[in-house]
């Protein structure tokens, strides 16, 4: 059937064309801002390093070499070695992998818990909403890092527990975001229409409301990934995350702190990796948010 003979299909084709144009506009804005472009490039670099870590690291991040302890940067060890003679470059590269993976873990877990709670609260409203949101408020009343610290300590020090603890502290932001969207969406005409057509509550909540919450959730995740990396590194730094000699940026800084007056490279490079990766994702997140919500463009 030719497209123009059916008004519904025509509408759909028009809508698709509009979406394509909008996407082009977003991408144009994203690349048009030099800071966002830098963020995108650097983020891509870190993601590639994380995925292909074994290709980038020429040495074993855990291999000890006592005769080469605390060696300064050289042709053999570009970024020097640590107190066990381990190659710092290789450790920073493998650290990228664990940092990005755990950050992704935090965001996935936090957004899943937050979405479930926010969607329930927003869709059902009434006392369900009131109860869930007051619980959310209680979690938000803590400074996040302090609560994450308490939770991680209670679960016991390990990278996985640090991830779990941070996710358990972060879900309220997603719950609040999704609840707001759900409240706004549930009175929209298309949800009304679905209800009239006899769709069940669960189907409406998932197919019609959740689907339309995805963009803000993804934007929020892109804004949060830098902070997730930072929080994990901080927990590791105070001994609540990865334990040495695991190649993890935060715990590498802790180890390097004992030597920083004479062997500055041990503490400098993992810290620099945290700094650059967090900055990359922050620039990208800011760029995405600006591109998607024109109100913020200035």
């Amino acid at each position: 059937m030719p497209v123009d003979s059916n008004p519904a299909l025509l509408d759909e084709a028009l809508a698709a064309e509009q979406r394509r144009r909008q996407l082009r506009r977003w991408l144009g804005r994203l690349f048009g801002n030099p800071l966002s472009a830098i963020g995108l490039g650097l983020s891509a670099f870190f993601i590639i390093v994380a995925i292909a870590a074994p290709l980038f690291a020429s040495q074993d991040p855990l291999a000890m070499d006592p005769s080469n302890r605390l060696a300064a940067p050289s042709a053999l060890h570009w970024l020097g070695t640590d107190d066990g003679g381990r190659d710092i470059l290789a450790r920073v590269i493998y650290g990228t992998r664990s940092s990005l993976l755990t950050a992704l873990g935090i965001l996935s877990l936090a957004s899943v818990i937050g979405t479930a709670i926010g969607l329930t609260a927003g869709y059902f409203g009434g006392w369900v909403d009131e109860t869930l949101m007051r619980i959310t408020d209680m979690f938000l009343a803590f400074p996040a890092l302090i609560l994450a610290m308490g939770m991680a300590a209670a679960l016991g020090p390990s990278l996985f527990n640090a991830m779990l603890a941070t996710a358990l502290v972060w879900w309220p932001w997603y719950a609040r975001l999704v609840r707001g969207q759900a409240l706004h969406l549930k009175n929209e005409a298309f949800v009304e229409a679905a209800r009239v057509a006899g769709a069940t509550g669960l189907r409406i909540a998932v197919r019609h409301i959740l689907r339309n919450c995805l963009t803000p959730i993804i934007v929020q995740m892109s804004l949060d990934i830098g902070y997730a990396i930072l929080t994990l590194a901080s927990l590791s730094f105070i001994g609540l995350g990865a334990q040495p000699p695991t190649p993890e940026w935060g715990s590498m800084v802790t180890v390097g702190r004992a030597y920083f007056l004479d062997q500055w490279w041990i503490v400098t490079f993992p810290g620099l990796a945290i700094f650059l990766s967090v900055m990359a994702f922050n620039l990208l997140g800011d760029g995405l948010q600006e591109a998607l919500s024109p109100r913020l463009r200035r």
Partner: protein, 342 residues
Amino acid sequence: MARYILRRLLLMILVLFGMSVITFALTHVVPGNPARLLAGQHATQAQVEAVAKLYGLDRPVLEQYWVYIAGLFRGDLGMSLTTRRPVLDDLRQYLPATIELTTAAILLVIGIGLPTGMLAAIRRGRPVDHLIRFFTVAGVSMPIFWFGIVLQIVFYRNLQVLPIGGRLGIIDIEPPRVTGAYLVDSLLAGEVDTFLSALIHLILPAATLAAGSIAVVTRMMRASAIELLDADHVRQARAKGLVELTILRRHVFRNALIPTTTVVGLQVGTLLAGNVLTEVVFNWPGIGLYAVNAIRYLDYAAIMGVTLIVSTIYVFVNLVVDIAYVVLDPRISYGSAETSGR
């Protein structure tokens, strides 16, 4: 407005109750056996049980919570397993150092963040604005503990102008304790040398702690000032020939302060959390360092005490900020003002 404040107070009580449940649950319901830890690695089962009994760790959870909450009202936060002193005494000893450091950081945040944000807004799109923007992104991306170490390398190791850590030099004598803040106490005692030493020791930790928040406040100030620079009433003021400086001061700066106040209030939470990291780097004997030492030995009462005191301060500061907000800006309706911060 009285009704709003009352509502806000009731909400705070609810939040404080919730916080006590969360901190309690964290330490009593989750894995990890404090009694075994306290009794030591080589203790027999009987010894562990005796210790559990001594500290009430063998009672039902609800009863333990009841004991805990009843204790809270008497100011009893339990005994620290590491220092073997009441947690309240420990907090009393270490809190002033933390408050001194946090206050110094807040002053830096306000003193640097507000003018820098204004400058960026006035010079919007110019090189200065781009430079400031770069620094604000860098500021929020910097791992605070690493930044502190970099400052130590530069100012202690290389330039040798500032001390590496601690609150006073080795030869300095602590001023007689009145408030616990060395800057204040040394002045009260008239000890100028001690005052100067305390001030010098405060520079690096305060700068480390403040960096991230300065960036956030600068950004907020820039955004709200830019919005105001385009606003009708500012254009009107300009049209009637008001001096630019007067416009900036009276119409832009003062109004931009309103949303920025909230952000500064929220930053207090960030600063309190950042204390933990800063105090470890600079060996600053506040509750952050105390908490990290407690974590090392799974000293639950101490961890719970720090979490609770920090969160209570945070909740209280937010209450004050929210009330200040409605007082400052008469346009705000007294509905539920939402606060959150990381």
